[in-house]
């Protein structure tokens, strides 16, 4: 009983550090990546003087992110006069908390036996490196991601400002239309692997196909599903090209116009943490999770696996996050009616056709076996 609690606590600590640390690192990565795509160099002037050596340390601009955070903490905390105070203060947390909750369902490693390393305290038990090993993992992820919409609408309504209200209504309509496509794009993968449990999906992606050339990852089995998932998830996250809720040049700052200081930083941080979550789900469903493609090292190096599995997982997550940042800095924004037309008239029929094709293919394969 206590051994279970200790292991879960260690996993939670590790997950919080990795998630929040990766989200902070991504703000720096975004600045540098966008600068290098535009033939310039990003922020590189923030120095810290090391006192006794008299050296100015510029760590490639990493201290700018720290300066941003400190400055936003020391800004005046403003609440509008006629705003609904309780909802105004509650809204950033409703947007931020589900993002942290979603990470509890993602396996960042396989099954470990800690008694081999840490002795007899963990008497012969096997633990899966996942904070909450639930059976219906995929379904719960989709359910939790729908809570963010409530936070966005509350933030816009409680600000007593017409631009915020406009921004939040646009956000609500955008997010609910792409939520349907998101669910329908995860359905073919559930059918292919045969279960809702995330660990079973990763185990099913070991091995290779096409006679040993390609690894049996989801992205090679059905690339169209991967593209639809990434599009729908970017729209859920309110990033460019689906940037209408916080469109900078159209409605000032959208639903978080009246927030200043650390509360605005919470909204932006929730957006970056959600990039990490989208990448984690993408890696689990389509990129084979925490395994390397052709080499199953868990059999040969069981003790090294504890360190190697999360490392591989987070490297893959980092690459997919960099791809999302590349998309954000390359594309222009959709107009509002183009966005809804794209969601309902193009993406949803495409997702349904995709499900039909995958189901037919699976039925044909099963008939031949």
């Amino acid at each position: 009983m206590i051994a279970d609690l200790v292991v879960t606590f260690v996993f939670i600590l590790f997950a919080m550090v990795m998630l929040l640390g990766l989200a902070t690192l991504l703000t720096w990565v975004e600045r540098k990546l966008s600068a290098m795509m535009a033939d310039r160099i990003g922020a590189n002037r923030c120095y810290v003087k090391i006192p006794l050596i008299n050296v100015k340390l510029i760590a490639l601009g990493l201290f700018h992110a720290m300066a941003d955070g400190l400055k936003m903490m020391s800004k005046e905390r403003f609440i509008p006069k006629d705003a609904d105070k309780f909802l105004f203060l509650l809204a950033p947390w409703i947007v931020f908390a589900p993002v942290l909750l979603m990470f509890a369902l993602i396996p960042f490693g396989g099954i470990i036996y800690p008694e081999k390393i840490f002795g007899s305290f963990f008497a012969g038990k096997a633990y899966l490196m996942q904070i909450a090993p639930l059976d219906g993992g995929a379904l719960i992820i989709l359910a939790i991601s729908g809570i963010c919409i409530i936070g966005v609408v509350l933030a816009g309504w409680a600000s007593n400002n017409k631009y915020s209200l406009l921004g939040s209504i646009r956000a609500a309509s955008q997010m609910i239309s792409y939520e349907v496509a998101l669910g329908l794009s995860l359905l073919p993968m559930v059918l292919t692997y045969g279960s809702l449990d995330l660990h079973t999906m990763i185990v099913a992606q070991q091995g290779s196909m096409l006679g040993g050339v390609l690894p049996a990852w989801g992205i090679f089995l059905s690339p169209l599903t991967a593209i639809i998932y990434l599009t729908a998830a970017t729209a859920e996250n309110k990033r460019i090209p689906f940037d209408i809720p916080e469109a900078e040049s159209e409605i000032i700052a959208g639903f978080f116009t009246e927030y200043s200081g650390m509360r605005m930083a919470l909204f932006m941080f929730a957006e970056f943490a959600e990039i990490v979550i989208i990448s984690c789900v993408f890696v689990v469903f389509f990129l084979g999770g925490y395994n390397l493609p052709y080499w199953d090292f868990a059999g040969s190096f069981p003790r090294l696996a504890i360190v190697l599995w999360p490392t591989i997982f987070f490297i893959k997550v980092f690459i997919v996050s960099c791809f999302q940042i590349l998309v954000r800095w390359s594309l222009p924004r959709f107009r509002y009616d183009q966005l809804l037309t794209f969601g309902w008239k193009f993406l949803l029929p495409l997702a349904m056709v995709n499900i039909t094709v995958v189901t037919l293919f699976l039925w044909l394969v099963q008939k031949h076996q």
Partner: protein, 171 residues
């Protein structure tokens, strides 16, 4: 190669209606620029087009660029300005104010008038160059220099005769 005529097409072509292909083409452009710059930085060269201003400066200012003004002097140190007030009259934003006086040298062969005070207010100067064009004695010129113009207080933008006069070694 036939140029695409977007402004004549009312609707997108079939190829363009499949959004993802055009999006992939755009992503390829930015990705290739990123990889090129990353390669340049990793091999030690400067992979950016930026001029790092306070440390590096651009060397391609035009030869007739209009920067800060300078009042020129003769060999004996006397300013060439004869206080005729033509620059004060032609300045569109009325930034120049001159008070004329008698030259201290009784038998000055150049001119008997000398400016006692020459005030140029950079707060309203629009750097048009009319004062340079109209001066009959080439007494005022505009240099290529625009350093140290911003100030904390508006009064410091009023430059007097001693600020504008060029020193003997520049003449």
């Amino acid at each position: 190669m036939k140029r695409k005529e977007y402004w004549n097409q009312k609707e997108m072509s079939y190829w363009e209606k499949l959004y993802y292909l055009e999006i992939a083409r755009g992503l390829w452009v930015t990705f290739s620029v990123f990889i090129k710059n990353l390669y340049k930085w990793c091999t030690g060269k400067k992979g950016a087009l930026t001029v790092y201003y306070p440390e590096e400066r651009r060397s391609d200012y035009a030869s007739n660029f209009r920067g800060k003004h300078k009042l020129t002097i003769l060999e004996n140190g006397r300013p060439k300005c004869i206080a005729c007030k033509m620059c004060e009259n032609i300045c569109p934003s009325k930034s120049i104010k001159i008070v004329a006086g008698k030259s201290p040298d009784e038998k000055d062969s150049y001119s008997l008038k000398i400016p006692l005070s020459f005030d140029l207010d950079y707060a309203s100067c629009i750097f048009c160059g009319h004062c340079v064009e109209i001066c009959p004695k080439d007494a005022i010129i505009m240099t290529n220099d625009v350093s140290e113009l911003p100030t904390y207080a508006r009064e410091k933008l009023l430059y007097s005769l001693s600020d504008l006069l060029e020193s003997k070694k520049d003449a």
